[in-house]
């Protein structure tokens, strides 16, 4: 029972921003300390640990190249995280982000190699649109099942993840998707006209960061705008706050739930497109590789705030990019990064933990 409910003015995020940033930084420091301790206990030598931590930093933000890699890793996380946010605001726990990334990515891929003669200005948006539709359709099934039969979206989206995974596998092994020059399950390449262009190829061709990161920011702005400025966003938020009140106020709850689910999945589908039409350029089995679940963590870390998702996505992207460097330079397993991410999340999910470890950071006890 909470009685001291903070009053949230319109600028809630702004007023809470300082506290949240503080919390995340403290969580990160804690996680890194724990990671270092784990290395100590698993017999990694001190200089080696130092090297690991410094390469984590240099690998994520140490050079333009590193920053590029961070943003590349962050792009699908941010977009898919935003997809999850839309569902979460409607009170839907869309665990199907992973499957929606896969299907969206495949739709984008197919559109991306099917019309090689279109100019980019038409082809790229068309393929992205197809990716959105793919993700939306898959998620829409879960939304429809929920409305029609009351089946919980957590169950149905998990099931749909498996279906998506197998379906992609099937496509990759058969024409027209399979690359005719290969015998293994690898797809054709997306046409250049449907590929997200690299942003800094003129500066350094090895910098992989592409238009996807701008798309991610755009989607974040769009999601925020949708949620807080439009009637549909209002309906979605009411579904999350008190569906019954929305129903009594005359809202079409069934429609809103399905639409929210489809938007959620569609945006996750776009995240898939940033893979197949971006850094990968093609599809291989399970090309989402758990990004969908990581994206849920990104959204939760941002407490489901669209702007926060951009930053938490970059943080997770940095850990991934830095982690790869760490693995190469210091020979430390990438799993350690997963542990760091998990601890950061844990600390955010249980803010009291951080407040207890670092009471001095939060001295003026903030009681609403």
């Amino acid at each position: 029972m909470t009685t001291d409910i903070a009053v949230r003015p319109a600028g809630f995020w702004r007023s809470e921003l300082a506290g949240s940033v503080m919390l995340v930084l403290a969580a990160l420091v804690t996680a890194l300390v724990v990671a270092a301790l784990i290395m100590v206990f698993s017999g990694v030598s001190m200089p080696q640990i130092g090297l690991a931590l410094t390469s984590l930093a240099t690998g994520s933000f140490g050079s333009p190249q590193a920053i590029s890699e961070t943003l590349v890793a962050a792009t699908p996380l941010i977009i898919a995280g935003l997809g999850f946010v839309i569902g979460a605001k409607a009170g839907l726990f869309n665990v199907g982000v992973e499957g929606q990334i896969l299907i969206g990515g495949m739709f984008g891929l197919v559109a991306g190699f099917s019309f090689p003669d279109l100019p980019m200005i038409v082809h790229l948006p068309l393929a992205l649109g197809c990716a959105f539709v793919g993700g939306a359709l898959l998620a829409g099934i879960a939304g429809w099942l929920k409305v029609a039969s009351g089946a919980h979206e957590v169950i149905t989206t998990i099931m749909l993840n498996f279906i998506a995974l197998r379906f992609v596998d099937f496509l990759l092994r058969n024409p027209p998707v399979q690359n005719p020059e290969r015998s293994d399950p690898i797809s054709r390449f997306v046409a250049d006209t449907a590929t997200l262009p690299k942003l800094f190829a003129w500066f350094d061709p090895s910098m992989r960061v592409n238009l996807g990161i701008l798309l991610a920011v755009l989607v974040a702005v769009f999601v925020a705008w949708l949620l807080w400025r439009t009637t549909l966003g209002f309906e979605i938020r009411v579904m999350g706050a008190n569906q019954q009140a929305g129903r009594f106020a005359g809202m079409n709850t069934a429609r809103t739930v399905i639409v929210a689910m489809m938007l959620s999945g569609g945006i996750a589908g776009l995240a898939g497109a940033t893979l197949t039409q971006g850094v990968l350029g093609r599809a291989s089995p399970d090309f989402a590789a758990g990004l969908g679940f990581e994206a849920i963590a990104v959204a939760l870390l941002a407490r489901s705030h669209p702007v926060g998702v951009v930053f938490s996505g970059i943080l997770f992207g940095a850990l991934t990019a830095g982690g790869r460097r760490m693995q190469v330079a210091a020979g430390v397993s990438l799993d350690l990064i997963t542990i760091v991410q998990a601890i950061v999340l844990l600390c955010i999910a249980a803010p009291m933990l951080i407040r207890t470890i670092y009471p001095f950071l939060f001295r003026p006890a903030r009681e609403s």
Binding site: I5, A10, T231, N242, Q244, F248
Partner: protein
Amino acid sequence: MIITLDNITKRYGSFVANDSISLSVRSGEVHCLLGENGAGKTTLMNVIYGLSKADGGQISIDGKAVQFASPKDAIAAGIGMVHQHFMLIPAFSVTENVVLGLEPTLFGDRLDLDAARKRVRDISAQFGLEIDPDAPLEGMPVGIQQRVEIVKILYRAADIMIFDEPTAVLTPQEVIEFFKIIESLRAAGKAILFITHKLNEVMEIADRITVLRHGKVVGEADPATTSSGELANLMVGRPVSMLVSRTEAKAGDVVLALENVHVTDGTSKLALDGIDLVVKAGEIVGIAGVHGNGQTELIEVIAGLRPIVDGRICFAGGDIAGISPRERHRRGLAHVPEDRSIAGLAVTMSVAENMVLDSYYEPRFSRFGRIDWSSVRKAAAQLVSQFDVRTKSVDASAASLSGGNQQKVVIAREMSRPIKLMIAAQPTRGVDVGSIEYIHKRIVEARDEGVGVLLVSTELDEVLALSDRILVMFDGRILAEFDSRTADRSLIGLAMAGVVTQSQTHAPEIAP
């Protein structure tokens, strides 16, 4: 045993919810706390119960200063609280609910429910609670659930018991039972703090009365030497009329007509079994009846929230079967739901957002699917001042409002657009006398402007005070009809219990 509060102060930001409040409760005494909505009663109780921390002042028990960091400490000190919203788990039995949190264990951590069951039975017998320790909570009437809450705090050996508006959710019959329990608790030497908005209850049960206004103690009273009028005056700071002044109804055209309406309760059981009912423009039709005799289903079928199995509903001239709730709103239906926290408000959202919950899409608030928040906030601010909703701003969350002010938000919203029919279910639940007077006045004004009102209330006094015609519902049917000018309380009471004589039988006018 005596608990003393000394200059308790509690602030929310710059807002002072409790301003140096001092009072005491002795064992064997019922101390009633009165005050307007938002006066700070619940806040004070939460401080006593350790749910929120006072910014100043001292609580002491038997002269010894105490400090509660959480309800756990308060419970250990012998304080128990029955919240307005019960905290029970429906899937559990009475005993399981009671022991929740301090499960008795045998050697080896085995749950020892037998001992608990016996204690529940003993407590129940001692205070006349008539609770079956093994009954499942699921489907229990509210009145019984409340007793389970009482057992729960007695099980934890509470000597000081806090009740926050315990009677707001009870039917009149249940209130009588509840007061018997309070009597036996008092006789057993418990110190009881009791919050209510119903002055007749205060006059009946209180040993001492403290009145709060704007977070301050504005008066203490002895029920033997005071009157409810005086108390109301003290609470609100001005004389309050408890009678609704209204002229004879000038009933016009039929706005709502139900013909032989049948509705199921979700399973196959009939909840409405052939309802015929007419509401005309400019009249208030009151539905009296014990809760659970089909009132909820009646409201929902009219609002379009429940499918009709058989029969016809005409609203504003046309059959509305198959018409969406939204379209019904557009045609002039307003609905104050019976439980604001379940169906009336999205409490985590702001007051402004709640004010437009059913009108946000209208051209005055949105264009091309974009909401114009500045006009929403302006309209909300106007409603807030018009209906005297006590809130820091329209951007504050509805959850930060006191219960009565939340209710005013719902009423304000529903009356903020042109309407033809208003369904008002328990419109004054948890609202203070001053605001009841105001809400009643608004309902009568709406009637005089030609709105048809369907009032559903378990509060017979309210039905009698407001209605032009009174219908009694029993077991899914309308059993009797009374003209409010000549209605006899006791006959209505009998009808509510299912007993009617021939002359009262409901003979509806059939809609043209």
